[in-house]
C-alpha cells in the first residue's frame, strides 16, 4: 500500500488540475457569501460578522414582491411543463416506435437550440402584441414563457426513467383486466414518480434562475428575484446585494440537493 503500484487510471497532472478547478469553482461563491455576512455596507471593509443584510433584504418590500413572483412563476411553470413533458414522454416511450418520433424529439428540445437572448426578444415582440390587444399585464406571460423553455428540462429525467422501466408490469396489469387508466394510476405512475419529481425540481430551478427571458417578457414594474437583482446591480455593489445573491444561491442549492437525493434512488 505504501508504494504506489503502476495504475492505468493515473495520469500525471490530472489530480492537481482537478483540485485547482474545484477550488476555482467554489472560492468565488464562498467569498461572495462571506461578504454577505459583513456588518458594514461596503464590500471589503470588514466591520464584523452579522446577518443584518439578510434581515434587511427580507424586510424590503420590493425584494419580498420579487421573491413571491419568482416562487409563483417557478411553481406554476414547473407544474405545467412537467405535466406536458410527462405526457409527451409517455407518448414516446410506451409501446413500439412511433412514426415521427424523431420530429417530436426535435420540437421538444427546440427551446434549448435557440440562443436565450433571441428567444427572449422574440417572445417580447409577440407578447407585447398580446399585451396591447388584451390589456392584461399580469404574471401570466412569465408563466407561459417559463413553461415553454422548462419543457425540455422536465422531459429529460422523465424520459430517462421511463426508458429504464420495461413494459412487462403494465402488460401484466392489463392482462389482469386493469383498465388503461387504472394501470397508469396504479402501476406506471408510482414507478415513474421519482422521474416526475426530478423533472419538476429541475424545471423549478431553471425557472427560478432565469434572468434573460424574464427581463424581456416582464411587464413594467414587475420583477422576479433575478431581474430585481439585475436592476440592483446598476447601483453600487453593496453587502445587501450579496446577501440577496446568497439567498438565491441557497434556494437553488436546496432544490438541487433534494432532487439529487431523489434521483440517486435507482428504479
Amino acid at each position: 500500500m505504501s508504494k504506489r503500484k503502476f495504475s492505468v487510471r493515473h495520469v500525471p497532472g490530472a489530480a492537481p488540475i482537478a483540485i485547482v478547478t474545484f477550488v476555482a469553482l467554489y472560492a468565488p461563491v464562498l467569498i461572495l457569501i462571506a461578504n454577505a455576512f459583513n456588518a458594514g455596507p461596503v464590500i471589503g471593509r470588514w466591520e464584523g460578522f452579522s446577518g443584518r443584510w439578510f434581515v434587511a433584504a427580507i424586510g424590503n418590500d420590493a425584494f419580498r414582491n420579487a421573491a413571491l413572483n419568482s416562487l409563483i412563476v417557478a411553481a406554476l411553470a414547473a407544474l405545467i411543463s412537467t405535466s406536458l413533458a410527462t405526457m409527451a414522454a409517455l407518448a414516446i416511450t410506451r409501446g413500439r416506435r412511433l412514426r415521427g418520433e424523431g420530429g417530436i424529439f426535435v420540437v421538444l428540445n427546440q427551446p434549448l437550440l435557440v440562443p436565450e437572448i433571441v428567444l427572449a426578444i422574440a417572445l417580447m415582440i409577440v407578447l407585447a402584441q398580446i399585451k396591447q390587444a388584451t390589456g392584461y399585464h399580469g404574471l401570466g406571460y412569465l408563466i407561459v414563457a417559463h413553461s415553454t423553455f422548462c419543457i425540455p428540462f422536465a422531459f429529460m429525467p422523465i424520459r430517462a426513467r421511463l426508458e429504464g422501466m420495461d413494459l412487462t408490469l403494465e402488460t401484466a396489469a392489463m392482462d389482469l383486466y386493469a383498465g388503461r387508466f387504472y394501470t397508469f394510476r396504479r402501476v406506471t405512475l408510482p414507478l415513474l414518480a421519482p422521474g416526475i419529481l426530478a423533472g419538476f425540481m429541475l424545471a423549478f430551478v431553471v425557472s427560478l434562475d432565469n434572468v434573460v427571458v424574464s427581463s424581456f417578457v416582464k411587464s413594467p414594474g414587475q420583477e422576479t428575484l433575478p431581474t430585481y437583482l439585475m436592476g440592483e446591480l446598476r447601483r453600487n455593489l453593496s453587502s445587501e446585494i450579496y446577501a440577496i445573491s446568497a439567498l438565491l444561491l441557497f434556494a437553488s442549492v436546496t432544490v438541487v440537493a433534494a432532487s439529487w437525493l431523489i434521483t440517486r434512488r435507482k428504479p
Binding site: 461572495l32 409517455l90 417572445l123 422531459f155 442549492v253
Partner: protein, 307 residues
C-alpha cells in the same frame, strides 16, 4: 376471416398511434406557439423597415440583413464594411472558441479525476460539479466579478500586501469576459466528458500498456478516440451558450467588450433598429444550428466507440 382479424388489428394500432400523438400534442403546441412562432416573427421582422422610435414599419426591405455586414458612409454615401458589427461578431466567435478551449483544459483533467475515484465517492464529486451547473448564472457571474473587479478580492489582497499601489483594471476587457464564461460554463464540459470516461473500459488501456505503448501513446491512440464523443458533446454544450451569451459579457465586458447577444439587445433598445436586431438574431440562431448539426454528424460518426 384472416383479413378481418388483421384489419381489426390495424384499426387498433391506428387508434393507439392517434392516442399517443394526442398525448404528445399539448407540449408540441405550447412550444410551437411560444418558441417556434416568435422565432418565425423574428425572421419576418428582419425583412421589414425600422420605425423611427423602434418597432418596425410593414414595408419590405433588405436593409436589416444588408447592415449586418455593410454600412453606408454618412458623408459620401460610399459602402464599407460595418467594422463595428463585424468586430463584435468576430470577438464573439473567438471568445466562444477560447471558452471552449479553456473549459477543455480544466474540464478534461477534472472529469478524468472524478471518473477514476472509487465508485462510492464518485457521486459526491459529481455533485460538486452539478451544483454550480444548476445554480443561478447571474449570481455566479457576480461571484467571479467580485474576484477581479477594481475594488474586488484580488486587488484588495494585492493592495493590502503592498504589491501594487493602484488597483489593476481587469474588468471590461475580453479577458474578463473569457474568465467569466469559462467559470460559468465549465460544468457543461465536465458532465458529458465524465460520462464518457466512466464508460471507458480500462482493460483496453492495460492491454495497450502490455503491448508496450507509452503513456502518451495510449492516451492518444486508445483512450482519446473512445472518449471523443463526450468531448465533442461537451464542446457543443459550451460553445453554443457561449456564442449567444448575454448576461456574462454584459456584466464582465460592459460596453467595451460586447458580444453578439449584447449587440442584438442594443439594436432593439437604444439602436432602434429592430430589423437589424432581428437579422442578427436569425443569423446567430442559424450559426448555432449549423454548428450543432455539423458536430452531431461528427458525433454520430464516432458513435461506434460506444463499446
Amino acid at each position: 376471416m384472416l383479413s378481418e382479424a388483421s384489419n381489426g388489428e390495424a384499426l387498433l394500432r391506428r387508434a393507439e398511434t392517434r392516442r399517443r400523438w394526442s398525448l404528445a400534442m399539448p407540449a408540441l403546441i405550447v412550444i410551437a406557439l411560444f418558441s417556434i412562432l416568435p422565432l418565425a416573427v423574428m425572421v419576418v421582422y428582419s425583412f421589414l423597415t425600422p420605425g423611427t422610435y423602434g418597432n418596425v414599419v410593414w414595408q419590405f426591405s433588405l436593409d436589416g440583413w444588408f447592415s449586418v455586414v455593410f454600412e453606408r458612409d454618412l458623408f459620401d454615401d460610399t459602402l464599407g464594411l460595418a467594422d463595428a458589427h463585424l468586430s463584435i461578431l468576430g470577438r464573439s466567435a473567438l471568445l466562444a472558441l477560447a471558452t471552449t478551449g479553456l473549459t477543455m483544459l480544466f474540464g478534461l483533467p477534472t472529469a478524468w479525476f472524478i471518473a477514476t475515484r472509487p465508485v462510492a465517492t464518485r457521486a459526491y464529486w459529481m455533485f460538486l460539479i452539478t451544483v454550480p451547473f444548476w445554480t443561478n448564472l447571474l449570481v455566479r457571474t457576480i461571484a467571479i466579478q467580485e474576484v477581479i473587479r477594481a475594488d474586488g478580492t484580488i486587488n484588495r489582497l494585492l493592495l493590502g500586501l503592498g504589491v501594487i499601489d493602484a488597483p489593476i483594471q481587469m474588468m471590461f476587457t475580453n479577458g474578463a469576459v473569457l474568465l467569466g464564461m469559462t467559470y460559468v460554463y465549465l460544468p457543461l464540459m465536465v458532465l458529458p466528458v465524465y460520462a464518457a470516461i466512466e464508460k471507458f473500459d480500462f482493460r483496453l488501456a492495460e492491454a495497450a500498456y502490455d503491448l508496450h505503448a507509452s503513456r502518451f501513446y495510449c492516451l492518444r491512440r486508445v483512450i482519446f478516440p473512445l472518449i471523443r464523443p463526450g468531448i465533442v458533446a461537451g464542446s457543443i454544450l459550451v460553445f453554443i451558450p457561449a456564442l449567444g451569451a448575454y448576461v456574462t459579457p454584459r456584466l464582465m465586458g460592459g460596453g467595451r467588450a460586447m458580444m453578439w447577444g449584447n449587440l442584438i439587445d442594443l439594436q432593439f433598445g437604444q439602436g432602434r433598429n429592430w430589423p437589424l436586431g432581428a437579422a442578427l438574431s436569425v443569423s446567430l440562431t442559424l450559426l448555432v444550428m449549423i454548428a450543432l448539426v455539423l458536430s452531431v454528424r461528427r458525433f454520430a460518426g464516432g458513435g461506434r466507440s460506444d463499446v
